[in-house]
Amino acid sequence: MARAAVVGEDGGMTDGDGRRGSAAPILELRGVTKRYGRLRALDGVSLSVRGGEIVAVVGENGAGKSTLVRCIAGDTDADEGQVEVLASAGRPPVSVVWQDLGLCDDLDVVANIFLGREHSRGLLAEGRMASDARQALERFGSQLTDVRARVDTLSRGQRQEVALARALSTGADLLVLDEPTASLSVLRRAEIMRVLSDLRDAGRAIVLVSHDLDEVFALADRIVVLRHGRIVAGVSPAEVHSDDVAALMSGIETESAARRQLNRLKSLVEQLSAADPAASLPLVVSATAAALDQDMLCVHLLDHAPRGPLLRRTAAIGLPPALADDTALVPVGTAGGLVGTAAALGQLAVTDDLSDESAWTGYLEQASAAGVRSAWSAPIVGSAGVLGTITGFSASAGRLDADRRELVSLYAGHAASAIERERLIDEVSRRNEILESLRAMLETLAGPDRVDGGLSAALLALCRGLGARSAGMLLTGVTEITGGEPRWVHIDISESAESDLYELRGLAETAPAGIDRPRRLGDGLAIAGLPIPGGTGLLLARWDDPAEPGRDAVELLDDASRSLALALEREMLERARREAAAARRSQQLQREVLQHLSHELRTPLTAIHGYASTLQQPDLVWDPESIERFLAAITTESARMERLVGDLLDSSAIESGLLRLRPDWTDVHLVLEAARSCVPHPDRVKVGVAADLPPIWADHDRLEQVFVNLLENAVRHGGPDGGVRVTAAAVDGGASVEVLVSDDGPGIPPAVAEKIFEPRVRGEGSTGAGLGLAIVRGIAEAHGGRVELVAGPESSFRVILPVEPADGEENDG
């Protein structure tokens, strides 16, 4: 017996979950050999797999993978060696997903999932098993819901899902999966991979046999390569490339040096694309040094100094101090030695042996002192010509062979793109910064404040970005934003200089029409047009340096003017859109009010029509009481209609500003008493009027209407026996009269309070058309006064009416 399943011999090593710690090997293979006739399917395989580890076994067809699986699973015995599975007590030691799945075709999904475990589930209800099966499938997102289907009716993928569900639900410490995802969709495969890595994290040991190297590299902690029954390598996926694994599997050695170079280059490219631009050049330098096996390497960048171009060293590796000092700044041309020559010619310059090189004269001593015998310098050529050089020094003499030359130019190319990328990003981010701050400023334009603040802030950002000392902007015809008048915004950031305000404004006002792209006006001045539809905008900037604006500043000004124009345009559109939306909303409200009114009007009309036609029926004779009731109802309903129609007429008069008042000197106390007598329970209403209350110039009947509405409202909302208090007093030093109507009801919910003066909103139990408060407000406003809802637990309304109408507010009534 070569196989021993040792079950839970030391409870002390198990954790709370009963799982072994990750240090404990769960599978141990020692010198396992399996022969089929003369063929050695496995030849002395030793392998140890710990809990919390996924070990992938890869190999070509016939390498012995499936035999290995069978040996581990105990499906076949090894001829030599030992297979040991150390499982926790009470758990099945191994569970396997066979390559051929090993399902029983004539059983359903549930039976297959619990196959071989019936004895432990014998007492379980069928329904419970089905739901457990479903759960096992759902764990990796299987769409298979019919767990009572026979597995031979399922697709290959579904069958694989069943096999997986079976293996994953046993709770075994060791999972052996032979091509577990071969038939699954990409999506399901990803789910399985997630579940496997969860199981690994939970301390299971997993042996994964797979052809799919991507899967192996994504999941495995170790990769064991099997070839001709032997383990030929055990590698970590972090350290090797999948090509290397493929090479190990096939046994075909690939040219390793070239592969290394390629891998190195590949990793450089990956690092470069992820690296911070400032770090990319040093990266290229060190990669180049590694690729060429060169100890001393440096990069020079071309610097357009006023007195001619210079090569400035920007990155170096391994340079001795003397050499470093010397190569810090080098002239272009032969005077710059190898470096200057390479830059001047735009070609690789090589010196095989420093001692017989005239071009190196200037640096001969230092170079020799530094122990340099040979060197090369390659130009870094970007899209606009030579950007700099990359130079290598060597302590030994020797030729730079063709391969290495190619590598040098390859890395020089990478350096060029790294440099250009860095410059581009630098440029873009500088611009972005300005444009971003412009955008942020312009966002404030969309706010409720006047636009000047936003425009000034935008100009300030622009000034800073341009390096200008002052800037101005003139907007005309942009009524949506500036309200009709031309608007001039100006900003000075230079403290010492006197304000450029008048000069710039004068220039803007006398500027010819049709300025679009930025123009230099000379003497440190530039002007640009803002292409705003329907209006015009001009942007001006003034620099201290008369040579400004340079090309960059002009371009920046162009960018800025365009984004300003876009922002202004967006703002205009947004305002137009908001207006349109408000108009639509008001139309919608009108439609709703009309619809509501038509219903409100039809109800009394239906009753009147109904009673009248009831009485008219020739074949029925009603008793006198019924007739009395019908007629009374007709009267009541007619009054209801009259009131509705009155409200409707009032509200449309208010809406269209046609409400006519017949004002006279009016005693508010009398009005309040009259209103009180009209409400259902006058005794509940307490009226308190200040002794010195002046008479006001108002329409008595309309005011009565106002207070009848408010009092009725208060009586209705004040609870069954609620009291209503009305107080009136002079305010504003006797210029106005304030009337407060409060009830002790529950108050008005805030959500309703906001809309309470709009037509149609009305509380439960109201019989009006919902226009009452809108009319109250309309009448108060027609008097030059106002009505407010006073916040607080008890709803109260405050009516403020002027004693006399303000000047110019004479009513024509």
Binding site: R602, T603, L605, G610, A633
Partner: protein
């Protein structure tokens, strides 16, 4: 008459309830009232009305939902009372199972006439001279038993649906105009309410015509309908 016909009034305005109740009671109907619609289903079971008068605008309740709930539970005649005059409201109510739609304000004579028409539709058909059974494809109409089956299974039809199907099936192949159908099924005065026939033919098709495309009722554009002669 075994028992007086019953009317369930669902209406929140007490004045309108009073006028309806006074008249219906005076004409010998049993009347039950639901003020807010919450007890409609219970009253349907308890009072077993023959006709429901349903106001669409109930406080805190969607009349359309209620209409559907009533139809879902019973094939009682439903007459909707509504202040909404739009055709869309009318078609919507019919689609939800209403048999008739009366716009407010209405005269009492008109209401009584419609209630009578509704009850007449519910009464057994008068003797006729056609075969007691019609069979088209897998649909069988048994006029004696007032039973309709499709593929051997009973199809549940409301009274109005059955009355319309009967009119059509009794005259296979003959073009029946909208007005003719409306007068015969709904009663005199309905001749212009073509949305009634449109909606109800649609309901019949949905219940009886299979997905295989067996066409039971043929539309004659702008004229009316024709019951198929196939089968």
């Amino acid at each position: 008459m075994a028992e007086a016909p019953g009317v369930l009034i669902v209406e929140d305005d007490r004045i309108i309830v009073d006028v309806l109740r006074s008249n219906l009671t005076a004409r010998g109907y049993r009347v039950v009232v639901s003020i807010d619609g919450s007890d409609v289903l219970r009253l349907l079971d308890e009072a077993a009305p023959d006709v429901v008068l349903l106001d669409l605008m109930l406080p805190g309740r969607d009349g359309f939902d209620l209409c559907w709930a009533v139809r879902d539970r019973s094939d009682v005649g439903i007459i909707v009372l509504s202040a909404r005059r739009g055709e869309t409201d009318k078609v919507r109510a019919l689609n939800l199972g209403a048999d008739d739609y009366l716009t407010k304000p209405f005269g009492i004579e008109e209401l009584l006439a419609r209630v009578n028409a509704m009850l007449r539709r519910a009464r057994p058909a008068e003797p006729r001279l056609v075969a007691p059974q019609v069979r088209v494809g897998d649909v069988r109409i048994d006029f004696d038993a007032q039973l309709v089956t499709k593929g051997g299974k009973r199809v549940h039809l409301t009274r109005t649906e059955y009355a319309l199907l009967r009119e059509l099936a009794m005259h296979p192949g003959r073009l029946l105009s909208h007005a003719e159908l409306l007068r015969r099924v709904w009663g005199p005065g309905y001749e212009t309410q073509t949305e009634y026939t449109r909606v109800y033919v649609g309901r019949l098709r949905a219940k009886l015509e299979g997905p295989d495309g067996t066409e039971l009722i043929v539309t004659e554009p702008r004229a009316g309908y024709r019951f198929t002669t196939d089968g």
